[in-house]
Amino acid sequence: MKNSLLQSMAWLHTWAGLVAGWLLFAIFVGGTLACFDKELDDWMRPALHGTQPPETPRFDAAMAWARERMPDAHAWWAHAGTARDRAVTVHAAHDDGTVASAALDPNTGALVPDTAGGSFFFELHYNLHAGTPGMYVVGLAGMLMLVALVAGVLIHKRIFKDFFTFRPRAGGQRAWLDGHNFTAVLALPFHLMIAYSGVAIFVASYVFGGVQAGYGGDMAKFWEEAGGYYEREEVGRPLPRLHSLDALVADAQRRMGAPVDWASVHHPDDASAVIQFGTRHDRAVAWDMQQVTYDASDGRFLHQTPPPGPAFRTYAFLGGLHMVQFGGSALRWLYFLLGLCGCAMIASGMQVWVRKRAARVARAGALSGHGLVRALNVGVVGGMPLACVAMLWANRLLPPGLPARADAEVQAFCAAWILAALWGAWAERRGHGWRDLFATTAAALLLLPVLNLLTTAHSHLPATLARGEYALAAVDLTALALGLGFAALAWRLRGRRMPHAARAVEAGA
């Protein structure tokens, strides 16, 4: 009985891991970079480097832009410029889902060149930029990760004996399995927490039966009641004039007892329009979801969300633990490094799958899915880091005045990934796909600070270090550190020209 349970768990671990593996790797890389999404946003807007955002945030210029762009929007929404991310970002959304966005100088209100920014990686890691269907795909991958983690613990017979064991020089499958095991076991609490809380954030969408039963499927109404938010019906008369948001910020901060971080105007073309303010999530583990609401025509105070009940606080705690807006940059660094452990766990796990079957596949000599898995491993694990660096390069190389500049950065990311995957898969036929991609990634990372020096006046390392803008400098320095890491990987793979399978056969013969 025990034997058959272990065997079925091993089967589950292998196939849940393989099916979700590439997706999970992309999600983990995106999520790891998203630890510093705001810092990356800021790095990618050189126009604002060396400036200070105002003490009290200003929103009127952003809302004026939104009115010009989309007067009949469902809502306008603006995020304050802060020390972590200086730009004021504004979005206007139609009922039909079309969104217009812009970034503004927090002091002057002038438009600054837009960028996909670190927010690109944040969104990638929870919905793959594919809206609601993408969110479901990511949720499924997250659940498969939980399955693989639990099954993995059950089948790891030497979990305590091999607790501290890593034998990189043992070579082949042994080294990959050790690497997979120690990055998984030693960071297991993190992996479990991040997969569980990640799925839990969208739990009302994933298990929609509850909202179906209680609210007839009206998700907006569910969140409104759960969070104690304010909403009022449209009346069909035009709004005479929009009250200044900036004039209300001080009052909103006083009522919330916390700094204002964002502002919104709901149905701004209707007399029922309301102005709302919310705050940041950096003062406790749980999100601080409180909002204050004002009448948009005369600025009259209308509503403040009551303190959350225990159930909503529980939800906000799980979400906050995942998104790590608390604890400052120190904790974000710890999460970043743990995220890298997760990437290594997933990548090495898939290498174990390949290595374990290499000899058997080569002996059989038959056409099989093995080559596909090998190609996908190179394409995803070797290709995605290169695509991420390519996006940073595009940010510095694209002309500032380019229309739809943020989209062009995303296209650079996608194009780089596709090309890298094809190149890697092709080169791996002769056994040096990994080496080629890692070496290119290393070069692109190591040259990033040089590119920064050549293309910007105030944003390169000497300038940012001199001004004490360490978050900006840290992006360049992290690129250097990661570049050295990739160079070391490429160096270890030098001189390997034969495909794994062929070598495995020779070794076995």
Partner: protein, 89 residues
């Protein structure tokens, strides 16, 4: 500073606990630990582990302390395993 000291405490706990195992004592000292040393190393390891928890909770309170502690503890273990692999050459 606080974080670095806490991280070092976590790492020390893993060092002591791993050296209490013959497998990791052997490559570093050329012989397995004597039974008394083994018990001592393990007891000290667990004690330092508890102390590292107390350090983080004392420094950052009950809400942040355990989160920082667990994150530092996991990364200290990864760092020590990488160091062990490098030393074992």
């Amino acid at each position: 500073m606080n974080l670095l000291a806490g991280f070092c405490l976590c790492a020390l706990a893993w060092v002591l606990l791993s050296l209490g195992l013959p497998k990791h004592h052997q490559p570093l000292f050329g012989r397995p630990p004597a039974p008394r040393a083994r018990r001592g190393l393990r007891a000290a390891g667990w004690a330092v582990l508890a102390a590292s928890f107390a350090w983080f909770v004392a420094g950052r309170g009950w809400e942040y302390g355990p989160v920082f502690w667990l994150a530092a503890l996991m990364l200290a273990a990864v760092a020590w395993v990488l160091a062990l692999a490098a030393v074992a050459r």
